[in-house]
């Protein structure tokens, strides 16, 4: 147990040093696995880990026992406990074993669940609008508020989420005690544009809003800023050591033109990140896809306030524009982990470390969340390459 505690302390020290732009003993390994990859490695079907929360927690434990050298985890395997979503009658998710084959990844059914005419209510009091308008709209069980089924659905939803969060916290603590892993992130929040685009207006809806009701869109995003800061700190339970996870979606190039990105996407995202930083919380700027045109704007952020995560952004340019002021992470291509050979993975990792990690301030990771198409032997190769070439 003492050795495991020491291991956890070493890993924490290594990760924090890299995020503070220092040179740790070697490059930290933060791999962001999907629940589907973890299920595959653990020998569970996707249905089992979506529906059986004990198996979901156990899947990560099995993976940690199987793959040596993993240093961090985000938590339990899957984000979703399907039973919780069944309890409220979620219209926007399809799950393995219910709507889909038992080993098919969940599907999100995107739609404009918030309508353009909802903006005024949302701006006036977003919490009340979500509770009274949005939740019944997206949940079949809540269709008729005040009825027995709707009341029971609400109760089960709240109880289910509380159970899920408690089990997830216990799981994380047990991983740390058994395997010496540390959390890669604590807490989650979003860019206000993504809050609206991901679950409320949908991509097609918000793209129309850019032209049809730009002022209302801007006002709604401004209203969201303090909520998104608070939500991040609350879900992190006040932790300020580890970064907050901020998956960034609709700000990727080329969803918007540069002038639109500057006018609509950036100001409130910047405000959220600066608000979190003022509270002592660093953001993992998880820039999915391509963000190359926006690097100079991102450089406006306070030094060290983010870890800039590179998926398909130009790594050379990211290093040139942001390196030395922000820790960088990434960018082993997911396609390489899925279709490459272990030697190719090792060569790619060596190239990354040689070019971008020599001065510290670098965390190795895949470009994006590692899905079930990744080969286990390629993950092992990635870890071995860091141990071989990533020592300072």
């Amino acid at each position: 147990m003492a050795d495991v505690a020491k291991l956890a302390e070493e890993r924490k020290k290594r990760y924090l040093a890299a995020m503070n732009l220092e040179k740790p003993d070697r490059v930290p390994i933060r791999l962001n696995f999907s629940g589907e990859f973890i299920s595959k490695v653990a020998g569970y079907t996707f249905q089992e880990t979506y529906y059986d929360w004990n198996k979901n927690i156990d899947a990560t434990r099995r993976m940690l026992a199987k793959i040596d050298g993993l240093e961090m985890v985000m938590g339990g395997a899957n984000l979703w406990w399907a039973t919780l979503h069944d309890a409220v009658g979620a219209r926007y998710l399809k799950f393995a074993g219910r709507d889909l084959d038992e080993n098919t990844m969940f599907q999100y059914v995107e739609d404009a669940y918030m309508l353009p005419e909802d903006y005024d209510d949302f701006i006036e009091n977003p919490t009340e609008w979500v509770a009274t308008k949005f939740l019944p709209r997206i949940h079949a069980e809540l269709d008729e508020p005040g009825t027995y089924r709707a009341t029971v659905g609400l109760i089960k939803g709240a109880y289910g989420l509380a159970n899920q969060l408690a089990a997830g916290g216990q799981g994380m603590a047990s991983y740390q005690q058994e395997f010496g892993v540390v959390p890669s992130v604590t807490g989650v929040s979003k860019a206000p544009f993504d809050t609206l685009a991901d679950t409320l207006r949908g991509l097609s809806g918000i793209m129309m809003d850019l032209y049809r009701c730009p002022d209302k869109l801007k006002k709604a995003m401004e209203v969201l800023v303090p909520h998104n800061i608070f939500y991040g700190m609350a879900t992190a339970q006040g932790d300020t050591e580890y970064p907050l996870f901020m998956p960034l979606h609709r700000g990727a190039y080329p969803f918007m033109k540069m002038d639109q990105w500057v006018e609509f996407y950036w100001p409130t995202l910047k405000a959220v990140i600066e608000g979190l930083w003022a509270a002592g919380k660093r953001t993992l700027f998880y820039a999915e896809n391509i963000w190359t045109p926006y690097l100079e704007k991102i450089a406006e952020l306070p030094d060290k306030s983010i870890v800039f995560h590179v998926d398909q952004t130009d790594m050379d340019k990211a290093y040139k524009v942001l390196g030395g002021r922000f820790c960088l992470s990434g960018n082993v291509p997911n396609s390489l982990l899925a279709f490459g050979k272990p030697e190719e993975v090792k060569d790619y990792v060596k190239g990354l470390l040689d070019k971008y990690a020599r001065d510290g301030g670098f965390v190795i990771d895949a470009g994006a969340v590692i899905l079930d198409d990744a080969k286990e032997e390629n993950i092992v190769a990635l870890i071995e390459a860091v141990h071989q070439y990533g020592v300072y």
């Binding site: 006036e124 989650v188 303090p226």
Partner: protein
């Protein structure tokens, strides 16, 4: 501007403001601060539950 919301511009962490509840409760015979603190803590959990469905 809409007038269909019960409250306007509620800050983060608040579903039903303590001030509103306190008026409904009337005179509090014991430790009002204790009741307020616990009310606001549970109100915050309600807030997180509501926003979970948006921020997931």
């Amino acid at each position: 501007m809409s007038n269909s919301m019960t409250f306007k511009n509620l800050p983060p962490a608040v579903c039903l403001p303590w001030d509103v509840k306190a008026k409904e409760l009337g005179e509090i015979k014991g430790d009002a601060d204790l009741i307020k603190k616990e009310w606001e803590t549970l109100d915050m959990f309600g807030y997180i539950y509501i926003w979970y469905w948006v921020q997931r």
